[in-house]
Every structure is written in structure tokens, then in C-alpha cells.
Symmetry: C4
Subunit: 227 residues, 4 copies
Amino acid sequence: MLNELKEEVYHANLDLADYGLVLFTFGNVSGFDHGKGWIVIKPSGMDYRRMKPRDMVVVDLEGNVVEGRLRPSTDTPTHLELYKAFPEIGGIAHSHSTYATAWAQAGKNIPILGTTHADHFSQPVPCTAVMTPEVVDGDYERETGRTIVSTFNDINYLHVPGVLVRNHGPFTWGKDPKEAVYNSVILEELTRMACITLAINPETTMNRALIRKHYERKHGKDAYYGQ
Amino acid sequence: MLNELKEEVYHANLDLADYGLVLFTFGNVSGFDHGKGWIVIKPSGMDYRRMKPRDMVVVDLEGNVVEGRLRPSTDTPTHLELYKAFPEIGGIAHSHSTYATAWAQAGKNIPILGTTHADHFSQPVPCTAVMTPEVVDGDYERETGRTIVSTFNDINYLHVPGVLVRNHGPFTWGKDPKEAVYNSVILEELTRMACITLAINPETTMNRALIRKHYERKHGKDAYYGQ
Amino acid sequence: MLNELKEEVYHANLDLADYGLVLFTFGNVSGFDHGKGWIVIKPSGMDYRRMKPRDMVVVDLEGNVVEGRLRPSTDTPTHLELYKAFPEIGGIAHSHSTYATAWAQAGKNIPILGTTHADHFSQPVPCTAVMTPEVVDGDYERETGRTIVSTFNDINYLHVPGVLVRNHGPFTWGKDPKEAVYNSVILEELTRMACITLAINPETTMNRALIRKHYERKHGKDAYYGQ
Amino acid sequence: MLNELKEEVYHANLDLADYGLVLFTFGNVSGFDHGKGWIVIKPSGMDYRRMKPRDMVVVDLEGNVVEGRLRPSTDTPTHLELYKAFPEIGGIAHSHSTYATAWAQAGKNIPILGTTHADHFSQPVPCTAVMTPEVVDGDYERETGRTIVSTFNDINYLHVPGVLVRNHGPFTWGKDPKEAVYNSVILEELTRMACITLAINPETTMNRALIRKHYERKHGKDAYYGQ
């Protein structure tokens, strides 16, 4: 069942580990089958080096396990909220990569300071609001998803394919699991650069024309980067 | 004698080196056999790459070598104090990992700034008090253990499985040697993240409900992380 | 056509990836054939691990593709401006290496703080001026080249073989593609050192005699470093 | 001639590269034969991966090449001054390791903040004074050695086996080339830790009893670390 997507999700999870974005069993990647309306996701607390494509768990949009002998990632309800609210995405990655997690802990948006950011995210990467104790003590993982979605009320999720969950870490997405992981790698690097930049010059800025130019040359209707 | 525990201790010591937490002969891991009341520990000043499982030294709780042709780690008396005071642990790791050691040198507790910390340590990681010259010039390594133990007068050692020894470095523990090393890796990473976070926003905080939620979902009686 | 230069450019591009100066398809290296007046450059958006020497694109100084089935790097017009203005160079490298890019984002020149810098760059590494929205919205990549060239009105490009393009990243050059990449590696390392140095002592200085001595012993007419 | 020492010096130079303390042809290690009064040193500007033990150059204490078809390191006169002034050393290493070089650029001594430092250096690691333009323009490399030696007028070179040359980088020494490189690795790590520590708590201190205890347990007459 969904064997091709299981392979994709499996390899994208391994990429998360290979790019150094997770330790031990941290993190998870999922993929969405738009036809069935089901997601495929990493099992909870599973060692990246021991798992197999067939260990990936199939879950419907209500969170019921459709197939799989293992429990899905505890963060599954967060993924589900994102797939329901962001209809054009096909993959989601969650890591505890060092710099993006550290910035999420700082509780701030990541400003656009350079073209590495602007090539991939058209605006600052937002950090979610503090979740109230009531929400945390409720349906926590689902509420995490809802908090992300409400952060994007005024932001186009296709132009800003990631977010920092406050005091937690990054979630990124894309058209498929592989692109979601790609955006996690980019987010980690642009965050690391932003840390260094602000240590050198806390007052630095980037003008809007340059931000738009870089985003558009890769993603606009007249994009001319690549083959 | 205790061959299985020697293998465990040997491999946990190699893990310490493989995870990049020690240079040269720095650091040491031990394991405790609750039945015999003996510990197995790395020999002093031994190259990680040359030692064999049979080089591990067996020591009783008074510090007498029960078996082994090599001298046990100079830090053995510190380990002994911890095994005597913390009856439910079965392994201890000591490293000079860069960030945790640097923070120990700073002489401060590590505040909880994110879920990576809260998933593993339910409170700030404490830093021990300054040892007086009299204590340093006395039975130094044993006094180091006593200083750690007194730091945990009001802290549950099972919920906070590690400590920073001031101006020295981290000690972590767990149910076995492998878990002790796991906690050393986690401590190093959460310390590194805390350094970066505080450089971005020295005023950041994390609310208590979120700390409790994350610790409980992994370690509480209704834990639901993992298989 | 230009097969030897294609091999050189191909290997210099791989070096850029092997030295950890680029992620994914970021960055590009080119080489110049002074006889033909043509450049050889990496194709746009190409995966470093999949490309072959024959994928390198040959372009004339007006930017016309002379040979190659792939589109040349989007940064090709920047390279062309540099080859036209700096007649003695034979290779150019552009990366998004972490520290040099972060410093470019900070919008400052890199001061000379030590001999690692002075051994390779006789003066501070300049950062270009902000490009106006009109220039960014015009012939952007060509204007980037012109902005670099005007930065070198009063700087000898042979003694300072690199620049930070503001909010973007570093460009370096040399007598051939290999030397251009060498200078990118050096620039990354001296920038990293400068970040750390200024964190320790923001007021530090280096006297001019020592700067001149180190530059001259490697590059002056009486150079005595090497064989 | 001195084939055994050539092998030692050759391997110690490779270690310098393998531990990540140098880029390209940077750095050099030498060894001293107390019987002959000759040193063996890396050739100038030589690629670490291409050199052979037989490429090592033999030089007498006046700097004359006794044997070798290659030119010795440009830093040879610095090594000679150290061997003449510090009679009990048998090896010297010079690197451009990132943190030690950055701290040398900052022009400050490295304070003792923890036991990693105190285990190896009994006092702060000194940074040399600024060299005057006259001295720089004179017999520069020999003057570098003299500046180091005068820095040790009141410091025991056996208890503090290394120094930061201001605006340049570290030199370390030991009983043989291997120990000199060992001390370079330690110096790099303790410097990195000191950078991080001071970012967390610029006011931190370490008491003298603990410094003395750690240095003595490894190096004192009643040392009890190791086998």
C-alpha cells in the first residue's frame, strides 16, 4: 500500500539524519498522497539506521492508522493539521537541527539578511506564538499544528515553506518529502548565517528590491535559475 | 568476571569517543553490577582505540580493585560516590565535551529553553558549587562525588540525569552505561543550543506547562513517545 | 573544445563542494581562455555530484553560449564583467560559504587581524556598496559585476583576490580556477577567525609592518615562502 | 641521516593536518636531535599529502641545511631560537588552528577557566608582545623566536608548553614532535572552550587550588593519572 510514497518518506527521513539535522530518534518526515487523502510517516522513536521502508506508517487525515504495525510519530497530529490547511504541499519535515532549534528557543522571527534566505523564503521565517498552558495540556500535538496554521494567516505558505515552533524547533514543507527535507537543510544554514551576521553587525539590513529579485529569479513566473 | 558488563562498558566508552565528546584519553564510562555491588570502569589514561574489553577494571564500592591488571580511572572515587547515593543508576559517563565543559567553566546552571532539554531533563542542569581549597587538597575525586550528591539534595537524580562539575565538565548517568552516554550526547547538544539561543535573545523563557508536557510525554506514567 | 579548461573548471567546482563551501547546487566556478577570449563555467542549478566535465558551458565575453547543451550559471554575467575588468585573472569562484556569506550579510569590510589574512590579501577584504532598486531591477547579474569592479577602483585586484557582495556572498579569483577556489577556502577561514577574534577583543589591531612583511614574504619580488 | 627522527617529524606533521589544525601547506613541525645538535623540519610550502619522510630537511642550530634537497620551512629560525633557549624540548609544532589563531589575533593571554587547561598548562597561555616595525623588518622569523623566549622569562616552559604569537598563531612544544602536536590539539580545544565560556559568563573564575591539583595529578612528582 502506497509503496512508492513509503520509499520516498523512508529516504527523506534518512536524509534528515545524513544532513546532520537530527540526533538519535529525533525528528520525522511525512508524505501525503493527495489521491487517497492519507499520509505516510516515520514510526515514533525509531532508530533511523534500523528502520525499513515497510516500517513507515499509513495514517488517514483523522489520525487513524490505516496500515502499519508500529505507532506513528507522536507529532503526527501536527502534520495532519498542516496537510489539511496547506492543500498544495506533499511533504513535511520536522527536525531538531541545532541553529533553527536554538532560534526557535529564542522566540523570534528570522529576518532576511541575505540572498541565501531570499532565494528560498520570500519573507522572514516566522516563530509561532507562545502556547497557553490550557492548549499545551489539551490536544498538544494537534494544537501545535493549529498554532502553525494561524501563524500563516497572513503569510503565503508556498513562499515561506517553513516555521519555527517556539521553544521547540523547525517544521518545513514542500511539494514532496524530499523538498521538505531540502528546505530543512536550507533553513538550518540560513539560521546559522543569521546568527553570525547579527554578531558582526546587529544593525544590518537588506533592501526589498534585492529580496524580491532573488526570490523571483528562482520561483517567479519568469524564473531563470536552473535548467 | 562480569564479562557482559565489561563489554557494555567497553562499547559505551568507545561511543563517547565516536560521538566526539572526548579527545585522546579524556573521559570515562563505568557500569554497576547491582548484584555483586561492584563497578566496571575504564582504565586510567588509556587510549580508546587500543583498549580491549578485558582491560576494563572491576572495583568494589570501597575502591579496591577486585580484578584487572591496570589502574582504574582517576575519577573512580567520584563514580563510587554517585553509585552509593543514587541507587537506581547502572551507568555513569564523564566527558570533556566542548559546550558542556565550557558551560561548567562558566559556573552556571543550564536553563531550560526548549523541548530538546525538557524531553530529557525535567529541570535546569545544575552546576556544582565551588569546592574549597581544603576539599580540593583532600580526597579530591571522592569530594567531587560528594559535591555532586549534595547538589541533588533537592533534585530528583532520575529526572535530571546529569550535572556540570564547576570548572571541570559534565557527568551523566542512566540505567546502564549506554544510557549514560546517550545522556552525555543530549547534554552536549542542549548546551550548544542554549549558548546560541542566549546569544540571539538573552531574555527568552519557556513556560512550565510546556516543560512538563514534554518531559511527561517521554518519561511520565502516561508516556506515549516511542514503541 | 577547450577540453583541458573544462576539466580544470569541472574539478575546481567539485573542490568547492568538497571543501564544504556550498550546499546543493549553490555556487559556481569558471575559467578563462585568454587566447580565445571565452569562458568555461558550471551549468545553472546543476548537482555537483552528477555533472561531468562535458557539461561545462563555453560562453563568449558578450554572454553568448559558444558550446554546451545546458544553460550557463545565472551568475555568468557577473563573471564576464570581472574577466573584462581584471585582465590578469584566469579563474573565478563564487560560493555561499557560511562565514564569508554571513559577513557579506553584515555589510562590512573584513579587517586584517592576523597573518593568515595578510599572507593572502594585502588589505581588508572589501564589501560592495548597496545596489539601488533601479540597478537590482535592471541587468542584475551584470550590475553585480560592475559593482564589484567599481569597488576595486582604488584596490589592486591582484593583491586582494576576492570581495564580499553585500547581502549575497563572496567572489574570489586567481590565475586559474584552482587558485580561485583556494582563495575561497582561505577567505572562509580568515573570516571565521575574524568573527572569533572580534568576539574576544573588539579593539584588537595589527600593525602595518607585519601585514606588509607577511604579504611580501609570500607574494613580493623577494618572496621566500615555498620551494 | 637521522632517519628515525625524520619518520617522527613526518608523522607529526601529518597529525597536524589530520587533527584539522592546518589548511593546505600551513604549519610545520620539527624535532631536535640532542646528540647531533641538529633539527629536522618540514620543507617550506609543501603539501602534507604529497611529502615523504625523506623530504624532511636537516638543519643545524645556525640554520645551515645539513641535508635535504628542499628549502626548510620559512619558520625554521623561530624553531631554532626555541631549541636554543628551551634545552629540554625535543619537538615544536606551529599551526594556524582556528581558535588559537583567532585568540592570538585578539592579542590576549588565555586565562585558566577549567581543568582541561589546568591538566596541561599550569598557567594562562601567554600571548607575545607586539613586535616593533624595526624588528619585523629585520630578521623577522628569528625575532619571532626571540619574542617567544622573552615571554617565558618568568614562565617555566615545561609547565606551559605553548604560546600565542600575537596576530599570528600558536607554537607548542614537548619532549618530542608527537607531544608537540598533542599540545597543539589541546591548546586549540581549551581555547575554543574559553571562547564559549566567556560568552556565557565573562566574570567566571577558577580557584588556584583546583588549578594546582589538576596540573599536579598529571605532572607533579606524585602524579597518579595514567598507567
